[in-house]
């Protein structure tokens, strides 16, 4: 036993990498998935969108790049599907230059495929990217069309029917930020939601989520934290709108490998601690 623990203590970390890789690949191939239960913090976002009257205005800011697509894209797609299903007016934009391809992707994968009858410029608009971080939100706070003078196709936003009545951020009914860092949810709360009293909700990477919990529930209506948050939103969306079952399951599927990988990591943490205490090195360090 002692020799085994000694070998565990001296294990080459590359074996751990291999174990994690297998813990992800095998469930992916086996399409392993587990039931997902929606928690109140995610349910709040769903309920808010579900209860909004037709034609309400929603900013959907995709503040993430390709590096966090596996976490953020399922959130963005699920929220966009839900909003369009409820016939809300959706204003897509991004504060990240690398967010432009993500908006193009949802145009192709969600808007063109699931909602071909919804018109760009009337039911939704892609306002594209603006440099300036929180400065853009600050500018849009008092002059929204001034901050976004053209949409992603180069059309003057003042000529678009969807921009009728939109002067400032306070004219919107909901702000949802799908983000992975700075600028993102925190800036939307500070410069958009708090001063205008427009509710803010978010879907963020797991790394970002603990930093945003203090804003919930007064400054942040709801929060999708990481892949689990995305899976919870997909679960509640599919439960209420089964027509999206085939297309809105990405995060739920990815939670299978996630669960197995977590079990492997927990096993390694327990083994590592056992090896540490069995080795007796902790006694020497204490002395």
């Amino acid at each position: 036993m002692s020799a085994f623990m000694d070998r565990v203590g001296r294990m080459d970390r590359r074996w751990i990498y291999l174990a994690i890789a297998l813990a992800v690949i095998i469930p992916l191939i086996a399409r392993l998935s587990f039931p997902v239960i929606t928690t109140p913090i995610v349910q709040n976002i769903f309920d808010k969108i579900d209860g909004m009257p037709e034609g309400s205005r929603m900013i959907l800011s995709a503040d993430f790049g390709p590096s966090t697509v596996p976490e953020n894209m399922p959130m963005l797609q699920a929220v966009l599907r839900h909003a369009l299903q409820k016939k809300l007016k959706v204003y897509l934009l991004t504060l990240w230059a690398t967010g432009i391809p993500q908006l193009d992707a949802v145009e192709q994968n969600v808007l063109a495929k699931d909602f071909p009858d919804r018109l760009a410029g009337q039911d939704w608009v892609n306002l594209g990217y603006k440099a300036g971080n929180q400065g853009v939100i600050n500018a849009a706070f008092s002059d929204f069309p001034g901050a976004f003078p053209v949409d992603s196709k180069g059309r003057d936003v003042r000529t678009l029917p969807i921009m009728e009545g939109v002067k400032r951020i306070a004219d919107f009914n909901l702000i949802i930020c799908i983000g992975s860092g700075f600028p993102g949810t925190k800036e939307w709360i500070q410069f958009g939601g708090d001063p205008s009293h427009v509710p803010v909700a978010c879907g963020v990477t797991a790394v970002e989520a603990p930093l945003l919990y203090p804003y919930y529930p007064r400054q942040l209506l709801g929060l999708m934290g990481g892949l689990q948050g995305a899976a919870e939103y997909e679960a509640v969306l599919v439960k209420h709108y089964p027509e999206y079952e085939a297309r809105s399951q990405e995060a739920i599927q990815r939670m299978g490998p996630q669960t197995v990988a977590h079990l492997v990591i927990i096993a390694f943490i327990v083994l590592g601690n056992l090896a540490f205490f069995a080795g007796g090195e902790w006694r020497g360090k204490r002395a």
């Binding site: 590359r14 990498y17 994690i20 890789a21 992800v24 690949i25 992916l28 191939i29 590096s67 966090t68 697509v69 596996p70 976490e71 230059a97 690398t98 432009i100 594209g128 990217y129 603006k130 440099a131 300036g132 929180q134 400065g135 600050n138 901050a147 003078p149 053209v150 180069g154 059309r155 003057d156 000529t159 709360i189 500070q190 410069f191 708090d194 001063p195 990477t205 797991a206 790394v207 989520a209 603990p210 203090p214 804003y215 007064r218 400054q219 934290g225 990481g226 892949l227 689990q228 990815r254 490998p257 996630q258 990988a261 977590h262 990591i265």
Partner: protein, 228 residues
């Protein structure tokens, strides 16, 4: 699959494998992919900022016919002469590149820093300070709309966790006796929150790994069929 996406898939797959090769050991393929990523990212941000911000928000407003080749929709708008001010400050900022005129850039820098500090100060103070204090002041027993045991426990954790965490960072009194015990509880609260943050970080990294593995799976299944 057409040739363009097929090539994209191959470039993406090879670069992914180059980056993952670092897990075995540092090597030239990894360093090539890393350098390529840094260079492409910098260029991408610069080009996008120019075409999506400077062109429509500055040139397109200062003298709209100037951008008619790219944004014909703006060409008929009246010029906004006031935009010459941000243009002037932008030029001043670029004077950093001319050694004997570099001191002029300080004016633009001072404006940018002053503006950012002023707006950030107010917003941070309101959203991250006063509102956060408000978030911590809540009923310890949740009875609205009905009694909630979970809500009550949550409120107790928030209030006493916040207070004990603050006590830990209070250094004007020695951490002894009851004060010391509260401070020690504060450390446990901090450690639990760090543990939760670490757990979330693990979840994030595994999510990204899953995404890459899915992509490599698509590459293996589709990438070896030449587009026809």
């Amino acid at each position: 699959m057409t040739l363009g996406p097929w090539l994209e898939m191959w470039v993406g797959a090879l670069l992914t494998l180059m980056i993952l090769s670092f897990l075995y050991r540092d090597n030239p393929f990894y360093r090539f992919a890393e350098s390529l990523f840094v260079g492409v990212s910098a260029a991408y941000w610069m080009v996008e900022a120019f075409w999506t911000t400077l062109v429509p928000n500055l040139f397109g407003k200062l003298y709209p016919p100037m951008v008619s080749f790219a944004l014909p929709a703006l060409a008929k708008n009246p010029p906004q002469i006031s935009r010459i001010i941000p243009l002037l400050f932008g030029v001043l900022l670029l004077l950093r590149l001319v050694p004997h005129l570099a001191h002029w850039s300080r004016m633009a820098m001072a404006l940018a820093i002053g503006f950012a500090a002023g707006t950030n100060l107010v917003r941070y103070l309101e959203s991250d300070f006063t509102s956060q204090i408000g978030q911590s002041i809540r009923p310890l027993v949740v009875t609205q709309p009905a009694f909630s045991l979970g809500g009550t426990i949550s409120a107790l954790v928030v209030v006493f966790g916040t207070l004990s965490g603050l006590v830990y960072f209070f250094f004007s009194k020695e951490h002894k006796g009851a004060f010391g015990k509260v401070s020690k509880f504060g450390i446990y609260v901090l450690m639990i929150s760090f543990g939760a943050a670490f757990g979330y970080t693990v979840m994030a990294r595994i999510s990204l790994l899953t995404g890459r593995m899915e992509f490599l799976g698509r590459w293996i299944s589709q990438g070896f069929t030449f587009p026809g």
